[in-house]
Amino acid sequence: MADVRIERITKQFGQAIAVNDLSLHVRDHEFVSLLGPSGCGKTTTMRCVAGLERPDAGQIFIGERDVTTLLPRDRDVALVFQSYALYPHMTTRNNIGYPLRLRGMDKPKRDAAVEETAMMFGIDELLERFPRQLSGGQQQRVALSRAVVRQPRAFLMDEPLSNIDALLRVTMRAELKRLQQQLGITTIFVTHDQVEALTLSDRIVVMEFGTVQQVGKPLEIYRQPANLFVARFVGSPPMNFFEGELRSEAGETVFVSDMLRVPVVAPRHAPANRVTLGVRPESLTVESAPSDGATRAKIALLEPLGYETIVHATIGSDVVRSRVADGEDLAVDQDVWLRIGSELLFDTQSGVLLS
């Protein structure tokens, strides 16, 4: 096991810059997710670590070793692909044992290691089957076993949960977390699914346009998004945004827009230009009677989820979303009053977090 250091790598495909001067340090035993929309460079970054792509500039270290120019086979990392990439002509046993075979391990030792790993993933009954005879979830477990069995210095996972159905995904997610806690192998996990990133990771790297937008613990990313991109991308339903400006009124700082007047905590650096107020749906409470500081809105849509209800309300022409625990007494077209609990302020132009 080892840490992975990415130092200022850049990778271009023709004119398109996939990864732009990106640096990242994944510590030993750490589970780090690369999170971002498709085309943000997360997969390319991971493929550079695997050795499947060579960066145009920059260096990659695994442990103390500079692996930038090494072949994939010499890096001692395992990759789990979204498509599983099992060898179609080999049984489960041979698929899992393949990396050991290439390392020259003799058959009895190999079989023992394969069986032990298969047991861990509950696929020891399937060792003589071929991939085409396995379900998606079983193939996934074979792919994970093949990665685990060789005890690599680092795990790389490229959207490993995206191809399985929703129910199984939740199970596999928990299983991955348990696996990582048990084995403690340094893991880089690529995903576009914020729930996977938030639930699994020690730290999340949010990416866009080939660059890192923010690195932080899941709750840091959620509570203190570094900029508007991260704020928009993380959280479901997404954060509500209001554009306006800051005014000083009677020694207080107030956010003012067409529809809203909200007293806010003054940011350290008050910007000269316009600001964006961000409010998470759970920080927006819905009240049925007017009160001081609450803003009038009309309910446009209700999405009951059982344990909570997502309320879509209109303030003027803006649609905002709030999540409330108990929405039974709410009705569409009803007038309500919204109160902002906690808020974040961003510089509208640069997108940077101000609060």
Binding site: R73, R75, L79, S83, Y87, L102, R146, R150
Partner: protein
Amino acid sequence: MQPNASASNAGKRALVYLVLALALIWTLFPIYWVVVTSLKSNAELAASTPSLLPLQPVLDGYRTVIERGIPRMALNSVIVAVGTTIVSLALAVPGSYGLTRLGLPRRIGTPLALAIGFALIFPAIAIVVPMFQLAVRLGIYDQLGTLILLNVPFNAAFALWVLRTVWMDIPRNIEEAALLDGDTRFTAFRRVLLPAMLPSLIAVAVLVFIFTWNEFLFALIFSTSPRAMTLPIGIAAQVPQHELSWQIVAAAGTVALVPVVAATVLLQRYLVRGLTFGMAK
């Protein structure tokens, strides 16, 4: 409603089976007739009402065929067909891999593939005369090796085109997984990719073998003596040489049928795949 519906379903099924039966007779009867004819005596063949089975099977046809050197020609055919298959695949397998996997820019890869594909539509008759003159100058006409050399371009191009679609169907990730598991590009090719594509490879090999086995034009022009004569030429030669003997023609035809039928029966599950390459799965 329901009894009616099932009645019309049964009617449809009957019609389907009827069409299938007719198609089967259409394809199999000529083969059957050649084999039966080869076993009939000349007297029986002269009868005005032909019988479906030989009344007294005789092997005279086969005896004559052996006397006239057909076994040698069959051996020549085997050598040319096997040789062409091996050389074509030896070129097409790495060629198609390179075209699809080495990251050639599209503006180079596509024209290259099209240029190779052009060999498939190029009429052989257009080059046969200059090629023959060339072979005469080089002193390599009337040789089995020359026939292989002539058959390879078309068949290698065919194999390359088919295998290209096969490579495109094999996910890149499988190769990448092997590279990470400890393979080099070459060992990944040999230990993972080649076995994964083996069924398709067998199908292509059988098709190339059959094409070459049936090849007539080059064999006719380039073989001037029995030492390089292949079966199709040998069989054709039976027709005008002496009196037309259906018995002999049929016996030689049966000899020519055997490997093709055997290959088709033995490898039919691969052939079905081979004939549906690149089609949606």
